[in-house]
Subunit: 229 residues, 2 copies
């Protein structure tokens, strides 16, 4: 199902939307929500770390890790290293981000793991880690045989896309859940903060779509590392 | 990115999960939520039509329409007809389902179109209709030239998958939104209804994943109509 379109323009869109998302999620949590804090009597500031790290980590850096094979004019081995290091950073930020959600809940007396967002979120981080470990062992160190790599690659790409799309979906659930809580506490439904959060979520979906499009499109000549293992 | 796996087993999983989803969404809305009604003084009964028709329409019948090319041992022209008719039924049920959400809002004095679920939902139904119309005109009547069909097919498949995944994501947003409203009104967070709704949402995600897997896998010999236009 490879598309007869060059991937590079799609990767440019990924970069631009990624920068926009970083700005939007920081404006939301610092300007509208009061800022970020690891320790605070205002427990909401602890929570605010959660959307910032999940979006910058799993979604944006994770998305850049996926597109790096198509976006960068470098040798295969260098791109592979960038791919796995960016994904490792994404996972690390994701785990810290998830820890902050639990920390906020525990210090505020809020129940854990009752919502669909939390269920899918735990699923995503577990699958993301499994995917990373399988990729590391098979394609990097110690590395599988040529036939194992060839047999594994389409499944690695497909499973990676599925986990990534699930991460994007879980992020949109998080935006909706947090905004619904805020609106139930009196936030105006058509106000500037609500519009900002909804627009951030829509741009997150677009970002994810362009990441997938870049994977399915053609790399530069002799540069398509999804077929050259 | 076609997978070296037969599609048929994936389509069986789609059927089984689809039947499970029909049962779950009906149990939720009839047993737990009090039933369905087009006109009622209990406006919640009007709303209840919405999740039932959206899930059975866009998600389940839409998913069966997508997998029909891989699931049915019939001639290409027959499968094409089944594909477009099932999608037309999915769209019709989707439009009635969306109408019921507006009807419930309007008769209950609730604001329209402020949530991410509603924004993405309107986007999905519009894109779904565009996709159907383009497919009808290009592949059915009057039908494009051979080169137009060949050039269009990968984009038709890709755009179809993107719209379908967006529909599944929007459905999960709807489950989370409705459950959050109910929990804010006193529903137990770890109670049987909450578990039922979350499980229905998780199975919806699995259903969507198996629909996509069936599209990307191999049809029976000489039967893969995603390459034979």
């Amino acid at each position: 199902m490879a598309l007869a379109a060059p991937a590079l323009p799609f990767t440019f869109v990924v970069h631009v939307l990624g920068i926009a998302l970083v700005v939007l999620v920081l404006v939301w949590n610092i300007h509208f929500r009061g800022g970020l804090a690891w320790e605070s009597t205002n427990k909401s500031l602890i929570f605010n770390i959660h959307p910032v790290l999940m979006l910058i980590g799993l979604i944006i850096i994770g998305g850049e890790a996926i597109t790096s094979y198509k976006a960068l004019p470098l040798k295969k081995e260098v791109k592979k290293l960038i791919h796995l290091v960016l994904h490792a950073i994404a996972i690390a930020l994701g785990i810290i981000g998830i820890y902050c959600a639990f920390k906020f809940h525990n210090e505020s007396g809020i129940a854990n793991l009752y919502s669909l967002h939390s269920w899918l979120g735990i699923g995503v981080i577990v699958l993301y880690c499994i995917q990373w470990l399988y990729g590391f062992v098979t394609f990097f160190f110690p590395g599988g045989s040529q036939s194992v790599r060839q047999g594994s690659l389409p499944w690695h790409v497909l499973f990676g896309i599925i986990v990534y799309v699930l991460a994007v979906g879980t992020a949109t659930l998080g935006f909706l859940e947090k905004l619904t809580f805020l609106e139930n506490s009196g936030l105006t439904k058509y106000g500037s903060e609500a519009m900002l959060v909804n627009c951030t979520a829509v741009i997150t979906v677009l970002f994810g779509a362009f990441v997938v499009l870049s994977v399915l499109s053609q790399g530069s000549a002799g540069d398509d590392d999804y077929t050259a293992i």
